[in-house]
Amino acid sequence: MDILSQVIESLQRGDGSQVAALTQQALEARIPPKTILNDGLIAGMAAVGERFKKREIFLPDVLLAARAMYAGLDLLKPLFAAGNMPSRGKVVLGTVSGDLHDIGKNLVGIMLKGAGYEVIDLGNDVSPTRFVDTAMSEGATIIGLSALLTTTMPVMAEVAALLQERELKNAIKLIIGGAPVTAEYAARIGADAYGYDAVKAVEIVNRLVPDQ
C-alpha cells in the first residue's frame, strides 16, 4: 500500500501518531506537501465523512480521525510559506448574538478545517454586522451561523437581510444550523442552505464553494 493510502487508513483509525509518522515518511520520500495534504489527509477526512453518513462510524470516531488529521497537518503547516497554506476557501463561523452555545459550531469548524477550508471562528454572541464585515474583509465566500434558541434564530434572518442589503448574496453564501433550525426556516429567511450536522455542513460548503 502506498504511503498516502496508509495515511488515509491510519487517519480513519484515529491513530494520530501513525498519521504523523507516515506524513513525515511521505515528506522524506519527496512527495509534495500539497499532495500529502490533498491526497492523504483531506482524502482521509472525506472517507471519514462518507462512512459517517452511512452510519458505519459515529461522532466520536469522526473527532478522533480529525485529531489524527491535525497531527499530520501540524507537520505540513510550517512547510507552506506564511499565508500560503492551500485552502479551498474561507468560511466565517459564529454563534449569533444573544447565544453562547458553541459546541456544534466548533465541530463544524473542525470538520471544515479537515476538509481544507480556512475557518475564521468569531466565537459566540456575534452581531450580524460583524459576520458580514468579517466575511468581506477576509474574502470569505461562506458565512456559517449557529443558534440554539428560538429567541436567537431571528438574528440569522438579520444576517441574510444584511447580505441582501449590501448586494452580497451572490458573493457570500449563507449556511445555518442549530437544534431549533430547520430547512424550512433556512428557505424562509433566504439562507442558501441548512446544515443538519458537521459532516453535512462540509458537504454543503463543498457544493456552494466554486471549484478553484
Binding site: G14, G98, L100, D102, L149
Partner: protein, 237 residues
C-alpha cells in the same frame, strides 16, 4: 415548600458508555478501547468539576397558569396545557451543573483537545439531565413521605422551550423561583447561565396524565423525542 438542594455528585455523573450512546454510538456496539478511555476521562473531569445544585418551590395551578401563559407566545397545542391541570401537585424547579464545566469545555476546545471537549460537553448535558431527574425523585419522595398524596405519583419535569411551551415563559418562572440563589441567571435571550442548567415545572400525578400518544406540529422537528421514553423509564423503576 421551597428548598435549595445540594445534589450528590454520584447522582449526576453519567457512566462512560452513556456518553458514547448520547453521541450517537449504538448501545449494542463493542466500543473502541480508545473511545472508552476518552469517555472515562470525560467522566473523571466531570465529577471533579461539577457542582450540582437544585432549587424547588411548590406552586398552585392558578399561579402556574400565569407562568405557563407567559407572554402569550405558546403554540396553541402546547402539551403541558393539557397535562398540568390534571396534576396533583406542581413545583417550579431549576438545576445547574455549575460554571466550571462550561469553562473547562471552552478551554479544551481552545487548546485543540476537541475530543475530550466534546465528550465532556456531552457528559455535562447528560449530568444536568440526571440532576433534573434527581429533583423529580426528590419531589416524589417529599410528596409520598409526608403523606400528601394517597397514591404514588409519577413526577416529570417540563421545561420552557419544548413541546410548544415558549422559552420566554422563563421570565415568569425565574421571577417566581429565583434560581439566582443557586447561581443561575437568565439573559435577555432567555439563555441560562451557566449553560448546563435546566428550569421548568415538576408535574406530579397519575402516570396517565403524562402519556403522549398524539403527534403535534412541533413533534416533526423534535430531535429529542424523549417524551415517551422517559415515561417508560419511570414506569420501569
Amino acid at each position: 415548600m421551597r428548598e435549595i438542594i445540594d445534589i450528590p455528585i454520584s447522582a449526576v455523573t453519567p457512566p462512560a458508555t452513556a456518553i458514547l450512546v448520547a453521541q450517537g454510538v449504538p448501545g449494542d456496539l463493542a466500543y473502541r478501547p480508545d473511545l472508552v478511555m476518552a469517555s472515562e476521562s470525560a467522566c473523571r473531569f466531570f465529577s471533579t468539576l461539577v457542582a450540582p445544585r437544585g432549587i424547588l418551590a411548590e406552586i398552585g395551578k392558578d399561579d402556574f397558569s400565569r407562568i405557563f401563559a407567559g407572554s402569550g407566545l405558546n403554540t396553541p397545542a402546547a402539551i403541558l396545557e393539557v397535562i398540568y391541570p390534571q396534576a396533583d401537585a406542581l413545583a417550579l424547579v431549576a438545576v445547574t451543573s455549575g460554571p466550571q464545566i462550561s469553562e473547562k469545555i471552552t478551554a479544551l476546545f481552545a487548546a485543540g483537545d476537541f475530543v475530550l471537549g466534546s465528550l465532556l460537553d456531552t457528559a455535562a448535558s447528560e449530568g444536568t439531565d440526571r440532576a433534573s431527574r434527581y429533583m423529580e425523585t426528590y419531589y416524589h419522595h417529599h410528596l409520598t413521605a409526608h403523606g400528601r398524596l394517597s397514591h404514588s405519583p409519577t413526577v416529570l419535569c417540563y421545561s420552557p422551550g419544548y413541546c410548544g411551551w415558549h422559552i420566554s415563559a422563563q421570565r415568569g418562572l425565574f421571577q417566581a423561583l429565583s434560581p439566582e440563589k443557586i447561581g443561575i441567571t437568565l439573559r435577555e435571550s432567555f439563555l441560562m447561565d451557566p449553560l448546563k442548567s435546566v428550569s421548568g415545572v415538576l408535574v406530579a400525578g397519575p402516570p396517565g396524565i403524562h402519556v403522549v400518544t398524539e403527534l403535534f406540529p412541533y413533534c416533526g422537528e423534535c430531535r429529542a423525542q424523549f417524551c415517551r421514553s422517559r415515561l417508560q423509564d419511570k414506569t420501569d423503576q
